[in-house]
Symmetry: C2
Subunit: 393 residues, 2 copies
Amino acid sequence: MNDPTNDWKRVLDSHRLPEPVYVTKPTMPDLGRYTQELESLWKTGWLTNQGCMHQDLERRLEQHLGVENLSLFCNGTIALLVALQSLRINGGEVITTPFTFAATPHVLHWNGVTPVFADIDPHTFNLDPARIEQRIGSNTRAILAVHVYGTPCDVDALQTIADRHGLAVVYDAAHAFGVRYKGQSILRYGNASVLSFHATKLYTTIEGGAVVASSQQHKERVDFLKNFGIADEETVIGPGINGKLNEFQAAFGLLQLETVDQEIAQRAALARLYRERLETLPGLKLLPHNKEVTPNHSYFPILIDEAQFGISRDALYQALRDCNIVTRKYFHPLCSHYPCYAALPSARPENLPVAERVAQRILCLPIYGSLPPETVGAVCDVIGAIHRAAVAS
Amino acid sequence: MNDPTNDWKRVLDSHRLPEPVYVTKPTMPDLGRYTQELESLWKTGWLTNQGCMHQDLERRLEQHLGVENLSLFCNGTIALLVALQSLRINGGEVITTPFTFAATPHVLHWNGVTPVFADIDPHTFNLDPARIEQRIGSNTRAILAVHVYGTPCDVDALQTIADRHGLAVVYDAAHAFGVRYKGQSILRYGNASVLSFHATKLYTTIEGGAVVASSQQHKERVDFLKNFGIADEETVIGPGINGKLNEFQAAFGLLQLETVDQEIAQRAALARLYRERLETLPGLKLLPHNKEVTPNHSYFPILIDEAQFGISRDALYQALRDCNIVTRKYFHPLCSHYPCYAALPSARPENLPVAERVAQRILCLPIYGSLPPETVGAVCDVIGAIHRAAVAS
């Protein structure tokens, strides 16, 4: 009668949601309005190559984000690839974080750079400035930092280190659309910042991304490089690539821009709800507040301490899946575990203790504008019930 | 009264077209039907990452083209980049043609390969097999050949050379959609072929491209690499990239596929018209016929011999522009002239005499399905009048 396996099964059975809930879902613009936008493309036949909507979207994004010198790209990976190339970071070593999506170290590979992994801060999950200097050598060219989950890096500390050693700083700001730090856009720091507008992001152009360059001349160089290095009909200034965002994506992005503030506000409300329900639960740690940051609530990560919570992150992930709640172990495995990077000296687990621990414990919960607050409540109910069943058994 | 400048001006004035005619223009599907296709995306919110339409388009393209193992890409450049990576062509030297679009040598750069330029055949404008062997050294990894204007390379000769020296052969088939050679798709030759579906191509997915791999295992590797090297949730097999084609592009491609045979037939009729009118004009050379080839008429290039025609290619280009006819010097300059490649030993003009001569004389005339035959007639009238005025002056 008191078999714990039965208790556990009963908990999951009684909490299963009727439909699967995914970790994210894009908010779609009105299809009728989107079709209207397409009509102009049907008239002109100008479908890509810096079309009118592309130009319009660059201007509007600059205004919305409070930045200058923004260049659109077909996706965030090619944007990051070109951002590095535009700064001639094309050899030697670059210090970066292992706690990020695969695109971050991969663009180093494509630019002929060896990644050097440094450990992360246990609170923000971003590169720990205290761990960077010990990794700087004579071949170091730059720091490639990531604003993980939209939480700003310690940009002042990173800039101080970079200045002392003559390094460039590039920010992978894939998560950081609309984030402000000390009253200004987080995208204004470093030598370049790169956004992602993938369908899983809070602002999306289906696939897409952007480079925020540091000057008008820098943007011009980025624009050449994203169009094969073509400066004019007779001149190719360097080995560029095709990084062009097409007009169908730009049209989508223009409509998304009208609703992105509302998307962030809805996510903020859901994040508050999660926080109220989960922060008192033993064994769960949430992202810290920082008064100097205007967040975008792009993700809702929780850190699970198995000893206190009662079960491991992997067990919680599976239990939630059994209840029709699809979460993500984002980022697990660490990039330093990928076969293509695992043999690097900097990839050794003993050099990255914080990142190793976080990657084993992190879980991102569903959050997106159209997610009903009741569903967030239901997710919290399940997590609470799982915890109680786990510690009771 | 008999001032030749006035005669020349009179010729241009009397032949100017009322509206500009461009070298190409995409044939658009019905907007209503396109919107219908989009409705399913609005229902599911699945906008990219190997969606249903992406899967459907891969299957249908394979059927249409008569190939297997086709993988869609966001553009042809990233497709070519990944095709090389999938074959581990990631260092040393690769023999290629200087008479091509910038993307061809640039993808070698991105894979850490030094391009070695070899001269072209004076009739097909493709890599001349007789020029390849003298360029092969101990660091040579592969031959990257281009089916320029859709004209098949001498695939048998290239394969013989490759086999003798243990080299891979990759075909840039950006121009070669639907081309058949000896009764089968030209895409079936070599270790991989790469298509472009850019808006300027006869078949388009707005931006887009594809790799045709040589086996199912090869396609699987290509598919991993275009999605960051992700093999499954826990495994990243290598430093891949984001090469994903989104569902909006796939939907466009599905509709384009219904009309592409008609597009080619219309182009064939226009090409016949051009040929009838231009092949008797002194100083113009057209592409040769080859009975073993089913062509796609993706371009209509002419080669201008200044001594016989009366004026140079550059002068004809400008005169046509003055008459509202926009042609393209495709490909001028040669890739071996780009500052980033000009210092290579193989880039010396004296090593590439045929390519140098062709690049100075080539001009691509307007051709696309919806171009009225009368406009082709008018273009031919202008060219004839310019010739007569030029030889008379």
